[in-house]
């Protein structure tokens, strides 16, 4: 049967529940800007009613706990998009550093190549002019330096990326260790019916950080989250994390090995590590290969033309450029072989005044190299490729950024804290608390009356 004591108990229970709800609101407000935080909702439930005969009387409210509000699907999409964005950003960052080398300037390969042919053409008007001859040597040296600089820019970038591979792998191992450590704690809380929201938020944030580094597939199990790389190599299973290793490969580059020692480098395609490896092992070697081919074939063609003529002393022309016997490394090491203007094989008949062989040297400009293009076109093609790669990486980075913004908006629409909402909740719970407190004071007054009634009868 309902009594004042029951009412008081119900009011106090309501005060407890509302206090708990206020604490949850407080926590939401406090974490409104915390990355990865999912808003929590108080789970208020009617207390079991008391049955008195045919009358069932409610017993107020109880705070069952709280629940984090999540959208696992959007969370997964964000992880995947983060992998794509980080991969694109890694490539973009690297390409933006490479691009200036291939931008038209006073010292790029194209300009220096033109300058060399101009100097040869100028020399053809007066093959014995030592100033014009010196200009040819300077132009040749400048072109060799331009090749060296471009090659160095690419290899320096490659070396930097190689260091980044090791750093990324170390970070991945740290993250997988932290994620694995959280798995049993979350599973334990879930098993005992407690809410593991805060730990889950932390783990989601760690998985997101991991996604920024490499491609990961996420599977939820009873033992917590299972993480594998894109090709199925396990990273986290239950409480165990599988560390990745790095070792120096035959090409001098750091290779990524899974816990079994299998080389998984080529399978890492997204995230910062994937983008870094893509640049280091494919994009840069591709560009460097073309640059080396151009330097080697150009140098060979000039040397061949030089050897068909005679220098100022009537001797058969010697090599103009020093180039290695192999194509690889040609751009890095191409240098001038001749050192004085009189060694330029201008003459076609052995006389100092002949310019007949300069035509052969100049003809290299308009003759297709063995690779199929003229030197100028081959360089223009390289410029196109660098521009195109950078442009594509810029577009992909922009697209993934926009996509991530949209996905985060979606996630925030579910999990994000709204200060306005929480302010409203604050008013709601404040009012509820005031009302419950009023019940307490009312019951107290009624108790006083009841007690006064007894006292009055005694008098």
């Amino acid at each position: 049967m309902a009594s004042l004591s029951t009412s008081l108990l119900t009011a106090v229970q309501a005060l407890d529940a509302v206090t708990g709800a206020l604490q949850i609101t407080n926590n939401n407000i406090a974490n409104a800007s915390t990355p990865g935080y999912s808003r929590q909702m108080a789970v208020l439930q009617e207390a079991a009613p008391t049955n008195d005969g045919n009358i069932s009387v409610g017993n107020g409210v109880v705070l069952e706990g709280y629940q984090s509000v999540r959208d696992e699907l959007v969370q997964t999409q964000i992880q995947q998009e983060t992998q794509a964005q980080s991969g694109a950003n890694a490539q973009l960052s690297s390409l933006q550093q490479i691009q200036p080398t291939f931008t038209t300037s006073t010292q790029d390969i194209g300009t220096e190549m033109s300058a060399m042919f101009s100097s040869l053409s100028s020399l053809s008007t007066d093959p014995t002019n030592s100033a014009d001859g010196a200009a040819v040597l300077t132009a040749g040296q400048n072109l060799a330096t331009a090749f060296n600089t471009a090659s160095n820019a690419l290899t320096s970038q490659q070396t930097g990326l190689n260091t980044e591979v090791t750093q990324d792998v170390n970070q991945i191992n740290q993250l997988t260790q932290q994620i694995a450590a959280l798995n049993p704690k979350i599973a334990e809380l879930n098993a005992t019916g407690q809410n593991g929201g805060t730990l889950q938020d932390q783990q989601n944030q760690l998985v997101l950080s991991l996604s920024a580094l490499t491609s990961v597939a996420v599977t939820q199990t009873a033992n917590g989250v299972t993480l594998t790389t894109g090709n199925g190599t396990p990273l986290v299973v239950g409480s165990k994390n599988f560390t990745l290793q790095t070792t120096t490969g035959s090409n001098g580059m750091q290779q990524v090995l899974d816990h079994n020692g299998t080389n998984i480098t080529a399978s890492l395609t997204s995230g910062d590590l994937g983008g870094t490896i893509q640049m280091r092992d494919k994009t840069i070697p591709g560009l460097l290969g073309q640059l080396d081919t151009l330097a080697n074939q150009f140098g060979t063609a000039i040397n061949a033309a030089q050897e068909t003529g005679f220098d100022q002393k009537g001797k058969t022309g010697q090599n103009f450029f020093t180039i290695p016997t192999t194509v690889a490394g040609s751009a890095a090491t191409i240098s001038m072989a001749i050192t004085v203007p009189t060694q330029i094989a201008s003459s076609s008949d052995g006389t100092a005044g002949s310019n007949g062989n300069l035509a052969n040297l100049i003809a290299v400009q308009t003759t297709a190299l063995p690779a199929g293009q003229t030197p100028g076109d081959a360089y223009a093609n390289l410029v196109y490729q660098v521009g195109s790669l950078t442009s594509n990486a810029t577009a992909e980075s922009g697209a993934t950024t926009a996509s991530l913004l949209q996905l985060n908006d979606q996630l925030n629409s579910v999990s994000g804290v709204s200060i306005d909402e929480e302010s409203t909740n604050l008013i709601t719970f404040q009012t509820a608390y005031e009302a419950a407190a009023r019940v307490v004071t009312t019951v107290q007054a009624l108790f006083q009356i009841t007690v006064s009634m007894g006292t009055a009868a005694a008098e």
Partner: protein, 411 residues
């Protein structure tokens, strides 16, 4: 994100969207500002990969055109120098013909003929000086042997530096394979070059000289023998037929004119007949020089005919003077003919200079079209970007501080 979808969504935090919008508008502003400040829409290859690649090719074409223009200027100056020299030669030859004609008059005394001969000698000296015209260190009529004077005084005999009574050269002395011994004949106006091959000896050279005499390349009597001093002596055995001999064979050493064997008024051409071609357009090469042999010796031997005129004025008959004057006249006509292609080339170079000027304009236009920004458009874009950026910043400033807390009374 479309408005309809956003309307259904629970919006919790507008900061990321505001930040993204600000970033986007500031990027657009940065691009617009760069285009206006540089005047270029392509500042790096990624701004337009195809345009950047085409620009590389176009700039190379521009560099070539600039160089062709410079080449035209250099060649034109050299050719104009040559043309002036030829013009002066023509004037000199006319003087010589006038003198010769007056000398052929039967009434002219021997003393007067000697005086006329002296005047023609002056003409010859002048012509030789013109034939050895130098432009910026280059002998313009030397062919590709342009670093030394092409016309040099001839002698009857040249002896080798190597060889002595103690260590004489012999007909069996082997020559250095690849070495070249050259004999330029002032009388025939021709040059004989002997390039030694393995196994060749002085005797081989002597035989080759005899053969050249038989062929008419060298004057009759020219021979190569070992003299009493043990040296190789190459000579004409005639006091009036001069030659100039040179050799780069170390076995022989340099060939030196024997003292006292100089032939008055005889000059041999020691240049060559090679012509340098210079590129002044993508598919236009022009001959940059006119070899002196072509102009003065290989046709009618003009130098030789002047020498001949002097000789007959000094010692010959009226008839001989008349014939010699006719020979000089023939030479004059020949020189005048040879001048025509030179003048044509000068005219062609002037035309090419105009064409290259036009080509520069065309390429510059092409480059502007490839990478240049349309300034009106760029300025409009900048204004638009400024407006957008201002709007984004204003809306962010207005919207972001708005919360319910602003409207609640203080607790």
């Amino acid at each position: 994100m479309n408005a309809q979808r956003r309307a259904k969504m629970r919006v919790t935090n507008m900061v990321p969207d505001a930040e993204y919008a600000m970033q986007q508008s500031q990027q657009a502003l940065s691009v617009a500002m760069q285009q206006v400040s540089t005047g270029l829409k392509i500042n790096q290859p990624s701004d337009g990969p195809a345009a950047a690649a085409n620009m590389v090719t176009s700039l190379a074409a521009s560099a070539n055109v600039d160089q062709y223009t410079s080449n035209v200027s250099s060649i034109l100056s050299q050719m104009e120098t040559a043309d002036s020299a030829i013009s002066a030669v023509v004037t000199s030859l006319n003087t010589a013909i006038t003198l010769g004609t007056s000398g052929a008059n039967g009434t002219v005394t021997t003393a007067n003929k000697q005086a006329i001969a002296a005047q023609v000698q002056g003409v010859l000296t002048s012509v030789i000086s013109l034939a050895n015209t130098i432009y910026q260190g280059v002998y313009v009529f030397g062919g590709t042997e342009s670093t030394t004077p092409p016309f040099v005084a001839a002698s009857t005999t040249f002896t080798s530096k190597q060889g002595s009574a103690a260590a004489p050269l012999a007909t069996a002395t082997a020559l250095t394979a690849g070495s070249v011994t050259t004999i330029s004949d002032a009388t025939t106006g021709d040059t004989f070059a002997f390039k030694a091959t393995a196994g060749d000896t002085v005797a081989t050279l002597a035989t080759a000289v005899n053969n050249a005499v038989a062929a008419g390349t060298l004057s009759t009597g020219t021979s190569a023998t070992i003299n009493a001093a043990g040296q190789l002596a190459i000579g004409t055995n005639s006091s009036v037929a001069g030659i100039v001999v040179s050799s780069n064979d170390a076995v022989l050493g340099s060939m030196i004119a024997a003292p006292g064997t100089g032939v008055p008024n005889a000059y041999a051409y020691v240049g060559n007949s090679s012509v340098n071609s210079v590129q002044v357009g993508d598919s236009l090469d022009v001959a940059a020089n006119l070899p002196g042999s072509q102009l003065f010796t290989s046709g009618p031997n003009l130098i030789g005919s002047l020498n001949g005129l002097i000789t007959v004025l000094q010692t010959g008959t009226t008839l001989q003077i008349g014939a010699a004057t006719t020979a000089v006249s023939t030479g004059l006509n020949y020189v005048a003919q040879q001048r025509i292609p030179l003048d044509n080339t000068i005219s062609q170079l002037n035309d090419q200079e105009s064409y290259l000027g036009q080509e520069t304009v065309t390429l510059t236009t092409q480059q502007t079209s490839l990478v240049g920004a349309n300034m009106a458009e760029a300025a409009t874009n900048l204004s638009q970007a400024e407006l957008t950026n201002s709007a984004v910043l204003a809306s962010a400033a207005k919207v972001l501080p708005q919360t319910l807390l602003n409207y609640l009374p203080p607790a």
